[in-house]
């Protein structure tokens, strides 16, 4: 196990050390001490590393992650795990805006709340939020699953494509072209699997499902007000 202390090392030195592992994997377990809300911690990882961040992180923590499993013992700033490809990111605290934005794969779990635009333009990532999420979440979401145990802000799933959204709490309002859909057996089993992966003990039957009405997929004069 290797520890990098960000009270003495720079973020540049940290990321360079992590990227060196792409060339030759010599150290799988990493501890990042004193992150102190710094931005761009552990971005662009391309190896199955285990990274433990012992405190709060700033913007884009674990951005574009591939293969690594990252745990943040604190809160995170804007765009945690943005454009993640694979691997996992677990946030023990709260997350700011745009958590998991444009993610293509992997699993993002947020134990606290997530701010606005959680899962914006998501493209295959799975996001599980144990608390509440802010407005415009899953805006333009294309693929993947968003699971929320708490409540959601306004305009959930606006202009959604094929993301599956599951919410246990209250939905303040749905965005354009987002509708409640029937929970069929395949959805219950999909959700059960996700909850298990995220380490959440909840009954899938307690959730409602939301998805795209697919009315905006092609331009139509009578939908002008929705654009």
């Amino acid at each position: 196990m290797k520890t990098i202390d960000l009270s003495t090392a720079s973020v540049r030195e940290l990321n360079q050390a992590l990227h060196e592992q792409h060339k030759q994997l010599t150290e799988r377990d990493w501890v990042i001490a004193h992150p102190a809300g710094k931005h761009n911690i552990a971005v662009g990882i391309d190896e199955p590393l285990k990274i433990d961040i012992q405190g709060h992180a700033g913007y884009y923590c674990a951005g574009m992650n591939k293969k690594a499993d990252v745990v943040v013992h604190g809160n995170v700033g804007v765009g945690v795990a943005e454009n993640m490809m694979s691997g996992s990111v677990l946030v023990k605290g709260n997350a700011s805006q745009s958590a998991g934005a444009t993610g293509h794969g992997g699993l993002l779990v947020i134990e606290g709340d997530a701010g606005a635009r959680c899962g914006i333009s998501m493209k295959g990532i799975d996001i599980v939020v144990k608390g509440n999420i802010g407005h415009m979440s899953a805006f333009l979401g294309q693929a993947g699953r968003l699971v929320v145990l708490g409540d959601t802000g306004e305009n959930l799933g606006d202009s959604l494509y094929e993301v599956h959204i599951y919410v246990k709490g209250k939905v303040k309002s749905l965005g354009s072209d987002c509708i409640e859909k029937e929970m069929r057996p395949e959805h219950l089993s999909e959700l059960a699997e996700l909850l298990q992966k995220a380490g959440v003990d909840e009954d899938p039957k307690a959730f409602r499902r939301y998805g795209s009405a697919r009315n905006l997929y092609n331009f139509h004069v009578d939908n002008a007000a929705a654009y």
Binding site: N15, Y59, G63, F219
Partner: protein, 442 residues
């Protein structure tokens, strides 16, 4: 009784095009979408002249004395800046809007000429990466196909804030072009009318952009130049903010810049022309002591070597071409006239690039049409055209006594019209008058 035809008077306000558009709107209920750039006349490089030499300045010999053309891009922060042989690059045009063959041809032509190509809204294809010696990877609001592996494969990254054709608008790709391959690369259902975001999903404003640029640098270990592309609007301020946010290179696209598909009203009515945008950008860079340190690439209506020379004289380090490159590949070729007429257009006028019916095989995803474009031949045509642009620009630079294209400066220019003089900030020909200077202006 008179035998003369009556003289019908066309309204200047309700001319035939305007009437036709009202009728079209009434029938369809949807705005008109098309490709290309603005069609109206706006003050442009044609309204400037280069002075050349006689007594007070002497020229260089056309065939004997060297006139350099190379350019370094990304020297501010990147460990691996780009060194191009010529200061004309190929602008970002998406796979999706263009066929894979067209993307490959652009790569081939640029590589022969010693310049770079750019991806677009929709990710990087193996065809273009394979054939482009130097490839710039666009980082767009949609992030379609965004992949850290492709970032690592790229030679530079271009953060796109906007395009001159539609500053403030997102990408658009209509259903007929969202084929299985395009949809797969973008993670979209096949056949949707794709509306891309117009704002980045995880940052807004210059303070955030600084952190975003730092992230991209961290991911690439500070090796690759980071460009910031802006549509020309409040250019003076935008350039200052982009430089402050950490850009290595500014790509400035004027309102004439082409697009694959945008609302006609957007193309014609939003943004400022290339001509007034350049001096605003140069002034911003000079005030920050960053001119030539942060390089400026200008696009939007570059067609000839004269345009290249004039843009560089105004202070650009390089120019970029979109529409002209497509024409060089074979777009709108007279040989296609009969086929273009069948789809309601004609050679020289075709701009329904969003429909995907291009008989040249360029702005299409139809496998039969795309097959018509031979990437090797089309690439050769582009290389020829690029070579002419450079030869022409060198001709003008030598006539002005310059041993390198980047030695051209605003003193080599005069304007033909009062408007152009004011916008380009060079004197009206034969006078010392630059309207708007001495006290007014920025």
């Amino acid at each position: 009784m008179s035998t003369h035809e009556p003289i019908l008077r066309e309204s200047a306000t309700f001319d035939r095009l305007t009437i036709q558009e009202i009728q079209r709107a009434a029938e369809t209920g949807i705005y008109d979408i098309r490709g290309g750039g603005t069609k109206r006349r706006v003050p442009h490089f044609d309204d400037l002249l280069l002075l050349g030499s006689s007594m007070s300045r002497y020229p260089l010999e056309g065939y004997r004395e060297k006139c350099g053309t190379d350019v370094w891009l990304g020297t501010r922060f990147a460990k691996k800046p780009l060194h191009l042989k010529i200061p004309v690059t190929i602008a970002g045009m998406s796979f999706g809007s263009l066929s894979a063959q067209a993307k490959e041809a652009l790569g081939r032509g640029a590589t022969i000429a010693g310049t770079s190509t750019t991806t677009g809204d929709g990710g990087m294809t193996p065809e273009e990466r394979g054939q482009s010696q130097t490839l710039v990877y666009q980082y767009l609001p949609s992030r379609y196909g965004m992949n850290p592996d492709d970032i690592r494969k790229a030679d530079a990254i271009e953060v796109v804030l906007g395009q001159g054709a539609k500053p403030g608008g997102g990408g658009m790709l209509l259903g007929m072009k969202v084929t299985e391959r395009v949809a797969g690369m973008r993670t979209l259902p096949i056949g949707v009318d794709q509306r891309s975001a117009s704002r980045h999903p995880d940052w807004t404003g210059p303070d955030d952009l600084a952190i975003k640029i730092a992230e991209l640098r961290e991911i690439t270990d500070w090796e690759k130049p980071i460009y910031v592309k802006i549509g020309a609007t409040r250019t003076y301020y935008d350039v200052k903010l982009a430089v402050k946010a950490g850009a290595d290179v500014i790509v400035l696209d004027g309102m004439q810049g082409g697009t694959a598909a945008t609302q006609e009203v957007f193309i014609e009515h939003v943004g400022i022309p290339t001509l007034p945008a350049i001096p605003q950008a140069v002034q911003a860079l000079q005030e920050m002591d960053m001119h030539r340190k942060v390089q400026l690439i200008v696009s939007g209506g570059v067609r000839t070597g004269a345009d290249v020379a004039k843009a560089m004289a105004l202070g650009a380090d390089a120019v970029s071409i979109g529409t002209a490159a497509l024409i060089a590949l074979g777009d709108n070729h007279p040989n296609l006239d009969a086929e273009l007429r069948k789809i309601g257009s004609a050679a020289g006028f075709y701009d329904d690039w969003h429909e995907g019916k291009d008989p040249a095989g360029i702005t299409t995803q139809d496998p039969e049409l795309s097959k018509r474009l031979d990437p090797v031949l089309a690439g050769r045509r582009l290389a020829n055209y690029l070579s002419v642009l450079v030869l022409e620009a060198q001709t003008m630079a030598r006539a002005c006594g310059k041993s390198h294209l980047n030695n051209l400066d605003p003193d080599d220019l005069v304007a033909l019209t009062v408007e152009a003089a004011a916008m380009a900030r060079v004197p009206l020909a034969g006078t010392k008058w630059i309207p708007g200077q001495n006290g007014s202006g920025y």
